[in-house]
Structures are given as C-alpha cells and as structure tokens.
C-alpha cells in the first residue's frame, strides 16, 4: 500500500534546479532506500517529505507530494502536525545539550502528548526501549545526552524521533558518522522499526541499502534514474547507469 506518493517534484535552489520531475511511490511499513552519488539530490528529496526545505530561504519546491491523500506541498499544510507525523534522523547525531530524559521528552512536551509525569516516563522508557538504548542508559537518564558515544547518540536521536509515534521516519545517512558495530546496531533497529513505521533512508553505502531496504531508488544528477524492489535493482537493473553505479564504475 502506498504511503507517500510524489508526482513531478521539481526543486530549485535560487535559479539552480536540484531535482527534475521526481515521481515515486513509497510503500507503507517498508524501508525505502535512496542511493546515488554525492550531490544527486537524494537528501533534498528526503527533506521535501517533512518540509525541512522551508528552513532554507532560497529553496523552492514544485509538484505534488501526497501522504495518505494529504497534500504536503501546500501553503495551508500545518507543518508542526506534519513533522509530528514524519520524524527525521540526521547524518550527524544531534542530541540537544540536555539530559537523556529531556531529549526523548522533547517531542511529547511540544505536542502536549503526555498528560502526566507517569505517562511521560512511560513514553521515554518505551521510546528508549524501541531504540535499543534503554538497557545502556536506564540508570543515567539525567546525564547529558551529548556525553554518550556516537552510536548511542544516534540511537538517542532515533528514540527522540519515535517518541511522538510518527508514521514515517526519514533517515539522512544515519550511519555515515558511526563505526561498523554502531552501524550494525542501527541497521538491526531499522529492521525492527519497519513493523510499525514507514522508513525512508538515504545512504551512501550500497551494501547498507541492500541489507535494510525492500525498495531502492537510484538518483543521479537530480533525476530518479530507476526505482524498484531492492533485489531487482542490485541484481538485474534495467538501466545501464544504475548497473554502472552498483558495480562501482562511478560515484
């Protein structure tokens, strides 16, 4: 079932066009990987899905992006509600300079989700458990989040993202700043999370895309070259460019 449906999306930074006519269907409760060489527009596309491009003054998005028939690329859209529904995890772990507890409680506080202290404690515990971090931090929830290791920080950011029970989580190269062990933990986590949420992940690592995703889209120079089941993209792509990239001939 389709969760997000993008049609003819064009993105401009000032007068420079960054994305050309992107149309893509992202299926519900699956992991969709976006791969491609640096500067191909995959992160730009990802940021269209939770309107993070609004932050960039000179950025302009055209076309239609629908999530459950709700038009995302519309002035009337309530961005705060959208971002409650579409969480995001960034390339570099960016926990707030607050305690571990406050980091996870940030979203629920803003959106007024918890009615009581007990409920908030429950949300924090559940989120940290889902992010596979609970056992490591349960005795030091009042320590500063930035004091954790890189991998733990990234899992804290994931816990923060899932604390408001989003339907979609966007991940922008979530493992590129982490060591192999931390990367493996995050990938395992992604596998678990997809039972409940739709995940779109941008990655530089093709092996990661092959490991975690069900669908893969290959971007090149602002265009979506090929999109399909991960197996097919990696074993038998239709497009010569995709074939070249996958086999490491460029990129």
């Amino acid at each position: 079932m389709s969760k997000i449906k993008a049609e003819n999306v064009n993105v401009y930074y000032g007068s420079k066009q960054a994305l050309f006519d992107i149309s893509i269907d992202i299926a519900e409760k699956e992991v969709t990987a976006l791969i491609g060489p640096s500067g191909c527009g995959k992160s730009t596309f990802l940021r269209c899905l939770n309107r993070m491009n609004d932050v960039i003054e000179i950025c302009r998005v055209e076309g239609s992006i629908k999530m459950d028939n709700l038009e995302l690329n519309s002035r009337k859209l309530d961005v705060v509600r959208l971002r409650e529904n579409v969480g995001m995890v960034f390339q570099k772990p960016n926990p707030f300079p607050k305690t571990i507890y406050e980091n996870v409680a940030y979203g629920p506080t803003i959106h007024g989700i918890a009615q009581s202290k007990e409920e908030m404690d429950q949300i924090v515990e559940t989120s940290l458990k889902k992010a596979a971090l609970w056992n490591e931090v349960k005795d030091r929830l009042d320590e500063i989040g930035t004091g954790l290791s890189g991998g733990q920080q990234q899992r804290l950011c994931i816990a923060r993202a899932i604390s408001v029970s989003p339907e979609v989580i966007l991940m922008d190269e979530p493992c590129s700043a982490l060591d192999p062990i931390a990367t493996a933990q995050i990938e395992e986590l992604i596998d678990d999370l997809k039972k409940e949420v739709t995940i779109v992940i941008v990655t530089h690592s093709m092996s990661q895309a092959a490991r975690v995703s069900q669908k893969t889209g290959f971007f090149h120079l602002g265009k979506l070259i090929e999109f399909g089941p991960t197996d097919k993209i990696f074993k038998n792509p239709d497009n010569q460019q995709t074939q070249d990239y996958i086999t490491g001939r460029f990129g």
Partner: protein, 458 residues
C-alpha cells in the same frame, strides 16, 4: 645623543640582517645551509641589536642615581635630611642646565661644574662601551655564521625570550599598579579605620579639610564611609542592567534567529556603532536630555524628581551597554550548530520553542559571560555618572533622587587642588582598590560560571 645611538644600533641591525643573508647565499655555493638564508640574517641582527640595547637600557636606568651619589658625596658632612639633599640635587641640575634663578653659592657652582663634567664622562663612556659591545658581539656572531653553525635554534630561542620579556613586562606593570594602589590604600587605612570605611554610611571627605595641622580624628571617623558609594554604584548598575539585559537579549535573539540575511547585515553594524560612541557623549546626553525629561515626566505625575537622577544615569548607561549584550549574545547563539536547530524543527517545534528550549540553553554560558562582562563595565563606568547623577553621595534607593558612585567620587577627589599624603587624596586609592576587587570578583565569577556550563553542555 641617546636617540642617535639607538638609531645607529637599529640601522646597524638592519644592515647586518642583509649582510647575514648575503653571506648565507655565499656559503650556499660551497656547502649545505643549516637553515633558510633569512635565519642567518636574523641571527646577525639579533646579536647586533640585543646586547647593545640591553646595556643601553641598563645604563640609562642606573646612570642618574650613580651621578647623584657622586654629587651628593660632597654634602655628606653637612648632616642634611633626605628632602634637603633632594632639593640641592635639583638645584645643581637646574644650574647645570642654565635654568636656575636663585642665589648661586660657590659650593653650588662647583657642584654644577662637577655635574657637567660627570655627565660628559658618562656619555663618552656609554658610547665607547656600546661600540665595543657592538664590535664584540657582531664579530662573535659573524664567526658562527662563517662556520655555518646551526642558525635556526638560536633565532627561535631568541624570539622565545623576546616574547617572554614582552609578556613579563605586561604582567609586571599590572602588578605594579595593583601594589601602588594597595600601598596608598594602606596609608589611608592608617588614618581612617577600615571598619569606618567599609561600614560607614556618610561620605563627605571635604569635611576633613583643615587649613593647618592634623584634622580632628572624630571628623575623620564620620567622613569616609563608603557604603553610600557602593550602594549608589550597584544601584545605578542595576538600573542599567534592567534596561540593557532585556533589550540586548531580545535583539540578540532577533538578529541571530529571526532576522533575514539582509536585515542582519545592516542592523548588526548599526547596533555596534552604539558601542563606539564615546561615554562622554552619553554623559551629556544623559545630563542635558534624559535627566530633564525624566524630571518633567515625574513632575507631571506629581513626583519630586531631582534634575540629576539615578534613573537618568542608569537608563543611559543601560543604552550604552545594550550593544555589548546584543552583539555578544547574537554571536554565541549564531555559533550554536545548525544541526541542533534542524533537530528541533524536525520534531515539529516552532521557531520560538526552538529558541527557548534548544538555542538559548545551549548558548547560556556565553550569554551569562557577556552579561557579567557588561555588569563589570557598568560598575566601572565613570563619565555618565559624573555628568548625569550628581556628586552628592546620598544613601538612597529612590531612583528619582541623585546618588553617586565610586568612580564619580574618585573623579571628585582628584580634580582640582590636592595634597599628597592627605587622607582625602588617599581615599581615592582606597576606593580604587575596592572597585578593582569588585570587578575582579565579578570576572572570576563570570569565568567560573562559563566554565561550569561549558563542561555541562559540551
């Protein structure tokens, strides 16, 4: 004479730099150099200038006192006091320079001749010694260059010592200032009890003025109570911070988080211009515009307002401090990494929530530091208070009355005629050192607060 000598040494140093470099190029043709050619130049120049200049400086420091000892030797049998000897020496010097107008005794005349003679000998000796040193050190250095010794290390060591002496000088001057403050203050506290100074509530030093003889100790007891001054200082600083902190912080937040790039480009320099206005301009602005304005408003509301009110001085001082706080807090908030903002926006936080919950706490150490810096600046501010808040040291907490501060009273004490050794004059040093202790204390707190928060957030 001295000027010519120093110029000569410096010119010679420059010449030896070029000479050393040229020599290095000659050596290069036959063997491998131990450093870049310019190091050979530096080496020669340093050996040329440093010993000669050091001897010159030492000579200039010690020559006058040696000459003085020689001259005053002739007077040792007359049983004169130190002050009388000093007077004679001054007379001799004036006579030698031809500017003496009093009675000339034979004895004095003889001394003056001796002085001129001694000076002449000293000068020739100085020139001779310095030339000898120049020749000696240059030939020594030239031998090393010729032997192609290692050049880089000595030059680096020399530079290290130059830098060390510069910083030592800065530290010593500071220590010297503190000690001179301290010694004068101690002499003041011999006349006035420290208890009366710290806890006394009347500041009226003019009362101790007596035409001749010692002032009455009972009067002294009641004239130098610094409480009104400390109270006034902190009261005016408090009013200033009430104006500066809210406006400064809010404009800092606007500039760093809300203003577009164009607004920021123009607004920030304009705010910083405020910091460049001389404080004396703020002073007459406060005295001539704000003061009367406050008085008028107050009178219209049926309040009794002094023309020189603490409110006017404090408000204008606050305006003066706004750019410190806004500019510094803008800087520290802009320095908060963009990915923290992104993280907050991606959670669905609005701009104001992001500022309140993420940016501001992350920037807090820097903000607290800038505020404490501003407080110590407000406490030390002089001109605005002198001009706008009056000189009468009232102990009051009414912002509409006039009050005075430590800095303003130091000005009052030290302008016009004063006698050194008078408790009134010395009280300025006591006030100065109290002010120094207060600002030092503030700075120490500021630093430790900043450090504590930094440990917490980084």
């Amino acid at each position: 004479m001295n000027l010519i000598l120093v110029t000569f040494i410096i010119l010679l140093a420059f010449t030896s730099y070029y000479f050393g470099r040229k020599k290095a190029l000659v050596i290069q043709s036959s063997q491998r150099l131990t450093a870049l050619p310019k190091f050979y130049g530096y080496y020669l120049a340093a050996w040329c200038a440093a010993p000669a200049l050091i001897i010159f400086a030492l000579w200039s420091v010690f020559e006058p006192s040696i000459v003085k000892t020689f001259i005053l030797q002739d007077y040792t049998d007359q049983n004169l006091t130190k002050n009388e000897l000093q007077l004679i020496y001054t007379k001799v010097k004036a006579l030698a320079a031809g500017t003496y107008t009093g009675n000339i005794t034979n004895f004095l005349d003889e001394s003056a001749n001796k002085y001129i003679q001694l000076k002449g000998i000293a000068n020739s000796a100085k020139v001779a010694i310095i030339l000898a040193i120049l020749i000696f050190s240059l030939s020594f250095a030239y031998r090393s260059v010729q032997k192609n010794d290692r050049m880089r290390e000595p030059v680096e060591i020399f530079l290290k010592w130059v830098l060390f002496v510069a910083s030592l000088g800065a530290v010593l001057v500071t220590i010297g200032i503190v000690f001179s403050l301290l010694f004068e203050a101690i002499r003041f506290f011999q006349a006035v009890k420290i208890f009366d100074f710290i806890f006394g509530t009347h500041w009226y030093p003019a009362k101790t003025f007596v035409r001749d003889g010692q002032p009455d100790p009972e009067l002294m007891k009641d004239a130098f109570g610094a409480v009104p001054l400390f109270a006034g200082t902190f009261f005016i600083a408090f009013i200033a911070m009430c104006v500066a902190i809210p406006i400064g912080l809010l404009s800092g937040i606007y500039l760093s988080e809300y203003a577009g790039r164009d607004v920021r480009k123009y607004a920030k320099p304009i705010i910083e211009i405020l910091a460049g206005i001389p404080t004396v301009v703020y002073g007459f602005f406060a005295a001539l515009t704000v003061g009367p304005f406050v008085k008028e408003i107050g009178n219209a509301m049926g309040l009794e307002v002094s023309a020189e009110s603490a409110l006017a001085a404090g408000a204008v001082m606050g305006v003066m401090i706004i750019p410190f706080i806004s500019s510094l807090s803008d800087d520290v908030m802009t320095a908060v990494p963009q990915n923290l903002r992104d993280g907050s926006y991606a959670m669905g936080a609005t701009k104001s929530e992001t500022v309140k919950k993420v940016i501001f706490p992350a920037a807090l150490p820097g903000i607290v530091g800038s505020i404490l810096l501003a407080v110590s600046r407000a406490v030390g501010e002089t001109m605005i208070v002198v001009m706008a808040s009056g000189l009468a040291a009232n102990l009051t907490m009414n912002p509409l009355e006039s009050t005075s501060t430590i800095t303003a009273q130091i000005v009052v004490i030290l302008i016009g005629d004063q006698q050194f050794g008078d408790p009134k004059t010395q009280s300025a040093f006591a006030l100065g050192i109290s002010l120094f202790i207060v600002t030092l204390f503030l700075n120490v707190i500021a630093l430790s607060v900043v450090k504590k928060y930094r440990e917490k957030y980084e």
